[in-house]
């Protein structure tokens, strides 16, 4: 047996954890009264004992990802570049602010994980003033980074405590420079995972770095056709307990300017069916098509108050619909995918254990008919055995 086949692969989600060996995959609902490590040892202690720390690979999405607010001076350059870099780093963008109108924007009440300030080429100076500092004074954030003109950096650093200054994302030809900000955001995401006490304790059973799950899934996508009959372009939905991740072929967007990955990903932090259930219901109630969808599924909104297998199914179907709306022209989040050219819809994560292929096809058909007024029907593929995740972890 090769060394690769001797790996123990563990994915810690907000609701379930999965443990995969060469010949078996186990999935367990988490016991929230226990530390993750204790829970893991309790359920799969015998399996874990069989492996050296060097052969245990863990990824986690249990923290639900990071969110960011971007302040930039133009839509075409600074905001567009920073937005692209952020979502290619798996960061959830809660808002973008055009600096000249900053006084007109409301201040988010929730804590923002990272604020990105961007604008101006390096030979440009004096782009930011008191209106920025007044806005920031009202905002709660954990991290703040400046990736604009190097001439403005000292003034901003003097005014904003804990400001991290990185090289400009806009070069002197107005082209994008993605590496520094991308590395910073990816590291923050990584630190956020490692900083969780629960996750830290997992280093007792592994000698390898613990990666965010969306990163692992994304890495597997170029090889996906080794496991499934998937025709490019495709999208992959990973609907979990706290978040929904979407991975998509770059051919499906015109706007994306970051070039290194073949597939991009978006993380919707508050669209999960367990930990983010209330947020999902709130989003659903604000969607004008949802009541029609509930009728189509032959249920009423009372289903939101139920605790049953059927209610979970409906929530999962709603999550699919809402997330598709968010990336279509109907409720564009930051991208607008070319849905009519999608050949395959791949679904992975907990959703594959709850919904059948037919139930998912039903929602996809509803979305295409109601939102896109189209009869186009991409092929739905279910990754029921977590093959994509396994492929990503093994490839790491």
């Amino acid at each position: 047996m090769s060394q690769q086949n001797n790996k123990l692969l563990i994915d810690v989600g907000s609701t379930y954890f999965k443990v995969s060996t060469n010949d078996n995959i186990e999935q367990h609902f988490r016991d929230f009264n226990k530390d993750i490590l204790d829970d893991l040892i309790h359920r799969c202690g015998d399996t874990i004992k069989r492996f050296d720390k060097d052969d245990v690979y863990i990824c986690s999405s249990a923290n639900g990802g990071l969110n960011t607010l971007i302040i930039g001076i133009t839509k075409t350059y600074s905001l567009k570049y920073a937005t692209n870099i952020a979502f290619n780093s798996g960061i959830n963008i809660i808002d973008t602010i055009l600096y000249q109108n900053i006084a007109e924007y409301s201040v988010p009440s929730d804590l923002v994980d990272v604020v990105i300030i961007v604008g101006g080429i390096d030979s440009c100076a004096g782009l930011f003033s008191d209106s920025l500092y007044s806005y920031l004074a009202k905002l709660s954030y954990s991290n703040i980074v400046f990736v604009g003109s190097e001439q403005d950096a000292p003034a901003l650093k003097e005014q904003i405590s804990n400001l991290v200054v990185l090289p400009n994302v806009i070069d002197n030809k107005l082209h994008i420079v993605e590496d520094y900000l991308k590395e910073y955001l990816t590291n923050l995401y990584q630190q956020d995972i490692e900083g969780k006490e629960d996750i830290k304790s997992l280093y007792d059973i592994t000698a390898n770095q613990i990666y965010p799950t969306p990163y692992i899934v994304n890495k597997a996508l170029p090889e996906i056709d080794t496991r499934y009959s998937v025709v490019n372009p495709f999208i992959l939905l990973d609907i979990g307990g706290a978040t929904t991740d979407i991975h998509y072929s770059k051919d499906l967007v015109d706007e994306n300017i970051v070039t290194k990955n073949e597939f991009d990903r978006l993380v919707f932090k508050k669209l999960g069916v367990f930990k983010s259930k209330q947020s999902l219901i709130f989003t659903a109630k604000n969607n004008e098509f949802v009541y029609e969808l509930l009728m189509h599924l032959k249920v009423t909104e009372n289903i939101f108050n139920e605790q049953s297998q059927k209610a979970t199914k409906i929530l999962m179907q709603l999550a699919i619909f809402l997330v598709l709306c968010k990336i279509s022209h109907y409720r564009k989040a930051y991208i607008n995918l070319k849905f009519l050219t999608i050949n395959s819809f791949v679904l992975t994560g907990g959703i594959t254990k709850v919904l059948t292929k037919e139930e998912i096809e039903n929602i996809v058909a509803f979305f295409y008919k109601k939102i896109l007024t189209s009869e186009h029907r991409p092929v739905v593929v279910l990754d029921s055995n977590y093959d994509i995740w396994t492929l990503g972890v093994k490839g790491d």
Binding site: I73, T74, K75, T76, Y77, S78, Q100, G119, G120, I121, S123, C124, A125, L127, I170, K173, L174
Partner: protein, 137 residues
């Protein structure tokens, strides 16, 4: 001085664009060339990002006529572009037209300097004269 230049709209006249770029550099300007097929918003955004003092739009296939009408409205949305020198040059109508009719029309659109079918060097001479006059004020 910094100049943002490019060809507006769905116009791929890249040779003229390159000549403008080279001529501006030869005269000592710092040039930010957005190339062909450039939308109006991209020009203004580039001026903001670079801190350019001059925006020089070129057009050869008459696209400028449609885009020109939106200049005032769009520029008014920007809070820091009041002192931007706005120049346009090339073939500014579809087919033929008289400069006597075309120049006032484009000035009314919000351009300070309008060069319809004017030789490139003559046009850039007029830009330098305009800058000198403005500096004297």
């Amino acid at each position: 001085m910094k100049v943002v230049t490019g060809v507006v709209g769905n116009d791929i006249h890249v040779v003229a664009n390159r000549l403008i770029d080279l001529s501006l550099r030869a005269r000592g300007f710092e040039v930010f060339n957005l190339g062909v097929n450039t939308y109006l918003e991209e020009f203004f955004d580039a001026a903001v990002e670079t801190g350019a003092e001059i925006l020089l739009i070129s057009s050869l296939n008459g696209e400028a006529e449609g885009w020109g009408r939106e200049v005032k409205l769009l520029k008014a949305k920007y809070k820091d572009l009041d002192n931007l020198i706005m120049m346009i040059g090339g073939n500014l109508v579809v087919g033929h037209g008289n400069a006597e009719d075309i120049v006032p029309k484009y000035k009314n659109y919000g351009f300070d300097l309008v060069c319809h079918q004017v030789d490139l060097n003559t046009g850039l001479d007029s830009l330098e004269e305009f800058i000198q006059k403005r500096n004297r004020k």
